[in-house]
């Protein structure tokens, strides 16, 4: 898998009722949890981020403030904001995010009428892992 580096591309969905600060916060969190933004790396400054996204600087202040409170970043007075990775927190947050993504996938698949077993099998196929029972069945079909 190609590892993405550098500042994340943040796209704000103007139609969404998810507040803009929340959308930006999620995008930065995802960049940190996926390793795109590395431990100790500096974030785009408040002013630049506001200009780039054309959002009210107060919104970015809120985003960085909350990320700081949640322990994802820290600030050095007058010198910007930096990524901070607390290993325990990192694993937990990553898992929460994984759960969120999975929930979305699973509920859509269930809506399409797939059973839990079928979903599991499909995941195995898509990720090229395969699970013993699924493999046996595949062979039988050949």
């Amino acid at each position: 898998m190609v590892e993405l580096e550098g500042p994340p591309q943040i796209i704000i969905d103007a139609k969404s009722a998810v507040p803009v600060y929340e959308q930006i916060k999620r995008a930065i969190k995802l960049a940190i949890l996926s390793g795109r933004l590395k431990d100790g790396e500096q974030l785009t400054t408040l002013r630049e981020m506001a200009l780039k996204l054309m959002v009210n600087p107060n919104t970015i202040i809120k985003v960085y403030g909350q990320l700081e409170n949640e322990g994802f970043i820290y600030s050095r007075p007058g010198a910007g904001h930096y990524v901070r990775l607390d290993p325990a927190k990192f694993i937990q947050s990553k898992h929460e995010l994984f759960r969120e993504v999975s929930q979305d996938y699973i509920s859509k698949a269930l809506q399409l009428g797939y059973s839990a077993e079928q979903i599991l099998r499909e995941v195995a196929v898509l990720t090229n892992i395969g699970i013993p029972t699924a493999r046996r069945k595949d062979k039988g079909n050949d």
Partner: protein
């Protein structure tokens, strides 16, 4: 802080505002919208002191001093520039009137305006940028922006908005915009005020507004919901509703969609034309 109390104003026999109240706290970015002719620009002119109220008062933060107009920037189509002056002369004149020792031309610099050009040779967009640059050189505490920014091209508009973001990230600036077109200012706005017949019918912060206005696609009219406007198709209708709350979600038969600011304002305004 701008405090409007008991304001009444008429153009001849046409009453625009009657006993109108509005308070805008310091540092807020506020949008005033509504259908054409509802009095948005009139309200802005009253705030700017260009028009005088028949009754009532408009008070500004005491911090703005005895002459608050000095700290009030009004960006409008009524540009007070001498047509025969060159850009350099206009800037020089401005400096001498306001006793400025220097002039930061950060806006004009980004345009193709030449200092030797006459004011009359500038396009509407270029004049607006020059005017805004002159206003910003006075470091206003309040910026009142009329619909004039519609008449400038996308590049100059971006320069204009970037300048506002630059200031907002450095210090407090109260911004009141009058607008009907929002795609590029949507995320700068903190509060939306909708005017109708000289009264405020909606006054919400942007996050609440987005949470409360929804489009529902359904075959039948959703019961017990306030519908702002609707669009009918052969097999279903789109219902724009306000106020929505999450508690209603389970009871609604139909798909519920979020809206952007343009769609939200259209929904309100559409209802007024219906």
């Amino acid at each position: 802080m701008i405090e409007i109390r008991g304001l009444s104003f008429s153009y001849g026999k046409t009453k625009v505002f009657r006993n109108f109240d509005l308070s805008i706290p310091e540092g807020q970015v506020c949008l005033i919208t509504g259908i054409n002719g509802v009095g948005k620009s009139t309200l802005l002119r009253l705030m700017a002191g260009v028009l005088r109220p028949d009754q009532g008062e408009i008070r500004y933060d005491a911090r703005l001093g005895a002459d608050p107009r000095r700290k009030l920037g009004f960006v409008s189509d009524a540009l007070s520039l001498y047509e025969s002056m060159s850009v350099a002369e206009a800037i020089g004149f401005h400096k001498s009137v306001y006793g400025l020792s220097s002039f930061d031309d950060s806006l004009v610099r980004h345009t193709k305006i030449s200092y030797s050009q006459k004011i009359r040779e500038l396009s509407v967009g270029q004049r607006t940028i020059l005017h805004l640059n002159l206003i910003l050189s006075l470091e206003p505490e309040v910026l009142l922006v009329d619909e004039i920014i519609h008449s400038i091209d996308a590049y100059l508009r971006r320069i204009f908005l970037e300048q506002i973001v630059q200031i907002l990230s450095k210090r407090r600036l109260t911004v009141v915009m009058v607008n009907v077109n929002f795609h590029d200012i949507e995320h700068l706005i903190e509060r939306v005020i909708l005017l109708k017949s000289g009264e405020i019918t909606v006054d919400e912060n942007i996050e609440d507004l987005k949470a409360k206005v929804k489009r529902i696609n359904a075959r039948n009219r959703p019961e017990s919901l306030n519908i702002l406007s609707r669009i009918d198709y052969s097999d279903h209708s789109e219902f724009f509703i306000y106020p929505f709350n999450e508690g209603l979600r389970g009871a609604i038969e139909g798909d519920i969609f979020d809206l952007n600011l343009t769609e939200i304002v259209s929904a309100f305004i559409g209802g007024e034309y219906a």
